[in-house]
Structures are given as structure tokens and as C-alpha cells.
């Protein structure tokens, strides 16, 4: 059973976001890393780039497949987790911790309200497993 921390918000594209003030920290969920398999490559944007909500900001690759990653909220990138370049496998081992991907200054923090909470996301992933 996939791990779904209570204190995060989730998208249907399997990203999570942790909100602190107007900055959101974003990564992919345990369910997503498990579906992908061994992550061997992570491509991330540069600090200062701007994205709209639901826009693709990078990609995660396993041996077998490429998966785009989408930001659940719009804004400007303020920090990127450079360590994933050399240690992409952290996405498998610590998806909610060390393998955070970007920090984004949200242009409209209200967008978080339209995301799923932990219980809703868990229900959503059960549907995906069918």
C-alpha cells in the first residue's frame, strides 16, 4: 500500500505539494515512484522559470519509461533539488523527503484548494489500480 502523508496536497497527476507561506515544495508521490520503477534520471527546470498550474516542469525516467511531471500550482521556481541529478534513486527511496523536486513561489495560493487531500488521493489511486 502506497504511503500518503496527511499534511500534503495532491494532484491527479501524482504530484504532492507542501505549502509554507506562499512557497510550495513539490515532488512525486510514493504511488508514482512505485508505478515508474527504478528512477534513473530526473530533469528539472532552472530557478527563475515560470509555470502555469498543470504545466509540465520536467520529467522523471525509469529504465523503461519517461513520465512528465506537472506543477499543481502556478508560479516562479525559487529552488531546485540539484542533488537528484546525481542521486535520482532518492525518488524511489524518499519521495516525500530528500527527493523533493522544486520550490515554487505561488502566484495564486488559492489554487491549492482545488487539489486533493490525503484521503481523496488515496481513493483516487485505488481507482487507478483497478
Amino acid at each position: 500500500m502506497a504511503n500518503v502523508p496527511e499534511d500534503l496536497h495532491y494532484s491527479k497527476d501524482h504530484e504532492w505539494i507542501r505549502v509554507e507561506g506562499d512557497v510550495g515544495t513539490i515532488g512525486i508521490t510514493d504511488f508514482a515512484q512505485n508505478s515508474l520503477g527504478d528512477v534513473v534520471y530526473v530533469e528539472l527546470p532552472k530557478v527563475g522559470e515560470k509555470f502555469e498550474a498543470h504545466e509540465s516542469f520536467g520529467s522523471v525516467e525509469s529504465v523503461k519509461a519517461v513520465s512528465e511531471i506537472f506543477t499543481p500550482v502556478g508560479g516562479e521556481i525559487v529552488e531546485v533539488n540539484e542533488s537528484l541529478q546525481d542521486e535520482p534513486e532518492k525518488v524511489n527511496t524518499d519521495p516525500y523527503g530528500d527527493a523533493w523536486m522544486i520550490r515554487i513561489r505561488m502566484s495564486n495560493p488559492g489554487e491549492v484548494d482545488s487539489l486533493l487531500n490525503a484521503a481523496e488521493y488515496e481513493d483516487f489511486t485505488k481507482g487507478e489500480e483497478e
Binding site: 520503477g37 527504478d38 534513473v40 534520471y41 530533469e43 520529467s59 525516467e61 525509469s62 529504465v63 523503461k64 519517461v66 541529478q85 489500480e129 483497478e130
Partner: protein, 373 residues
């Protein structure tokens, strides 16, 4: 979690699910793409110790009769007359244009008995193709695909593991040869062949014995121990064969690629007598080929994937047939068709990775070659 009912299953389907295999639709078959250990570990374990693969989805066509050898020899590019009893040969069913209906293994049991082992997704097509070319030769053709399971045990420990289950002296079986014997008391064809670039065996037996063989081999191979055998899914099978520079039907070869373009000239025996496609291949050999299959490795960060464009100075010149990370070599590699004029070792190319031109260099294949004992 149920699969679409139309998918075909091997006799090990329930075992794969039980072992946590992630099942996918592979050419109409419900097959494990990986097990919980993951593709990288499965791949490395096969290179360093042993990997176990269910390849029961492969097709088997039995050819018996006094014309078995001349009949098959007319359909395939390699020379069947060179085989002795107990020998296997890599070959291809060719079209009149010299392109590939399928690649296959030809096993010779006797002068009047061959077994053709073909790809899963093409079994029906091959069967129809072979039957349609049967013109009164004294052969009896049977599609026996459902009767056989096929289990591949590959890697440096494969021989010692399998030897604990059989009295057949495995060391005596030479590469690309086979013997009929028993594995754990089950009548089997034990073939020293594989699709990983490692030493290893492919065991054919009655379908209903698949589970017994699978479990016994896992047990004999210390499954669960850190250096024990691991069951491997299709993803590891693909990365292993790619590192070993082997073609995969539907990727490097199909009905639009000729054997010569695919570097398979070594299985084109143009002087063996007539076979389907011979004249086209002879003509192509004389005139030269316009494109050729090459291997490349990425020189910049990025992973090439199937069907991406190959660029030279920004201009598309070809297409990737297989692209992937190579878990053992720890490089990102691939194969592609490009015009012959550029198909030289050291030639710099770029791969169009979703809109980004990423540098790569043409290298020799196979990418990986095991050290022979």
C-alpha cells in the same frame, strides 16, 4: 487489478502475480514487466549471478518429414543443412524483398525433425506464412506453441544451478547446442542459448510442468538470498539484450528492414541455394545498402527512447529503434538506422529527446561482451 480478458497467459501467470510481478500487455500476452526487486537489480543479478525468465509466450512450430530440411531451408536465410543433430541456429524468415517476417531459432533433432522457435507476437503470422509456402513437400507442420513452456536461466551461475536438477552433463553442451534430458524428473529440451549476452540455458518442457520447473530452479538458485537467482521481467530482458547488441523483432527488424541493413549479413547464406528473398539480398549486397543499423551511446545528459529522431547538424537522418539506460554499463545507449555514409564509429550524432538535441556518439556493438572463461 484484473487484466483484459482477451490477453493470453502462460502457465506461469498465477505464479508471476503471486511473486509480485507487474503485469503488462506484451504483444497480446499478459506478462510481468518486472518483479519487486526492480529492473536494475534483475538486470545486474543476471550479469553477476543468475536470472530466471518465463519465455513460454514464444511460439514453437514442429516440422517433421523427409523434406524438413529442404523445406525450412527455402524459407529461412541461414543454412539449415549445416546443422547437426542437437544443434540450434539463429535465422530469419524472409520476404521476397529480403526484409524480415520474423527472426527465429531452428533446432535440429534429426534429419527429418526440426523445431522452429519464433517470437510471441508473430507466432500466428509466421504459422500462416510457413503453411502458405508448403507446396507438396513431404513435411508435417504443427503449431505446438501451447504445448511447451520455455524457461530461460541466464547468467554465470546458470550452469551450476541447473546442474543440481539434472543428470545431463551441462558442461558438455556447447553454445548453440541442446540435449534432451530431464530437469527435476521432467522430460525437457535443455538448450545452451539465450538472449542476454550471458552463458545460460533455455529449458523447454510440457506446459503443465512450468510451475514445477520454475519453483525448483528458484529453490536450487537460492532465491531470496543476496546472490541468489532472481526472477526477471520483460524490462530486464530488453535491457540485457540491448547491452548485448541483439535485435528485437518490431524494433531493429521488421518487414521494412532488410537483414543486411540490420547487420545480419552473417545469417544470410546467399550461396546455399535458393530461398525466399535471396535474389533481393544478393542484389542489395552488390549495390550496397543505403542505411545501416548502428549502436550509439549518449555523450550528454539524456536518455534516448524508441522512435526518436537521430540528427546530424540539426537535420533528421534516421530513427532510434531501441533506446534505454544500460544498467550494467551505466550508460545511456541505443540502436538506430542512419544513412550508410554516417554509419561509422566515432561519428557524432544527436538524438531529439522530446525537442532537445542531445549529443551521442556511434560506438561498436555489442555494447557489452562477457568475458569467456
Amino acid at each position: 487489478m484484473s487484466a483484459a480478458p482477451a490477453l493470453k497467459q502462460t502457465s506461469l501467470n498465477a505464479v508471476h502475480r503471486q511473486m509480485g510481478g507487474r503485469m503488462v500487455d506484451f504483444g497480446g500476452w499478459d506478462m510481468p514487466v518486472q518483479y519487486p526487486a526492480g529492473t536494475v537489480e534483475e538486470h545486474l543479478r543476471t550479469r553477476n549471478h543468475a536470472g530466471l525468465f518465463d519465455v513460454s509466450h514464444m511460439g514453437e512450430i514442429d516440422v517433421r518429414g523427409s523434406d524438413a530440411i529442404p523445406f525450412v531451408n527455402r524459407l529461412v536465410s541461414n543454412d539449415v543443412t549445416k546443422l547437426v543433430d542437437g544443434q540450434a541456429q539463429y535465422s530469419a524468415l524472409t520476404t521476397p524483398e529480403g526484409t524480415v517476417v520474423d527472426d527465429l531459432m531452428v533446432y535440429r533433432f534429426a534429419e527429418d525433425h526440426l523445431l522452429l522457435v519464433v517470437n510471441a507476437g508473430t507466432t500466428e503470422k509466421d504459422w500462416e506464412w510457413i503453411k502458405s509456402h508448403h507446396k507438396g513437400e513431404n513435411v508435417e507442420l504443427k503449431n505446438v506453441s501451447a504445448d511447451y513452456c520455455q524457461i530461460a536461466l541466464q547468467g554465470p551461475d546458470a550452469l551450476s544451478i541447473l546442474q543440481t536438477l539434472t543428470s545431463t552433463p551441462l558442461e558438455e553442451i556447447k553454445y548453440y547446442h541442446f540435449r534432451e534430458g530431464e530437469v527435476d524428473g521432467v522430460p525437457s529440451i535443455i538448450s545452451r542459448t539465450g538472449y542476454t549476452g550471458e552463458d545460460g540455458f533455455e529449458v523447454y518442457a510440457a506446459s503443465e510442468k512450468a510451475e514445477q520447473l520454475w519453483n525448483k530452479i528458484l529453490e536450487a538458485g537460492n532465491y531470496g538470498k543476496s546472490e541468489g537467482v532472481l526472477p526477471c521481467g520483460l524490462a530486464a530482458r530488453n535491457t540485457l539484450r540491448l547491452e548485448a547488441g541483439m535485435a528485437l523483432y518490431g524494433h531493429e527488424i521488421n518487414e521494412t528492414t532488410t537483414l543486411l541493413e540490420a547487420n545480419l549479413g552473417w545469417i544470410c547464406k546467399l550461396n546455399k541455394g535458393d530461398f525466399i528473398g535471396r535474389d533481393s539480398l544478393a542484389k542489395q549486397k552488390e549495390e550496397g545498402i543505403r542505411r545501416r543499423l548502428i549502436g550509439f551511446e549518449m555523450t550528454e545528459r539524456g536518455i534516448a527512447r524508441d522512435d526518436q529522431d537521430v540528427l546530424i547538424n540539426g537535420t533528421p537522418v534516421g530513427r532510434v529503434t531501441s533506446g534505454s539506460p544500460a544498467p550494467y554499463l551505466k550508460k545511456n545507449i541505443g540502436m538506430a538506422y542512419i544513412p550508410t555514409e554516417f554509419a561509422n564509429e566515432g561519428q557524432q550524432i544527436q538524438i531529439d529527446v522530446r525537442g532537445r538535441a542531445v549529443g551521442a556518439s556511434i560506438v561498436k556493438t555489442p555494447f557489452y561482451k562477457r568475458e569467456k572463461k
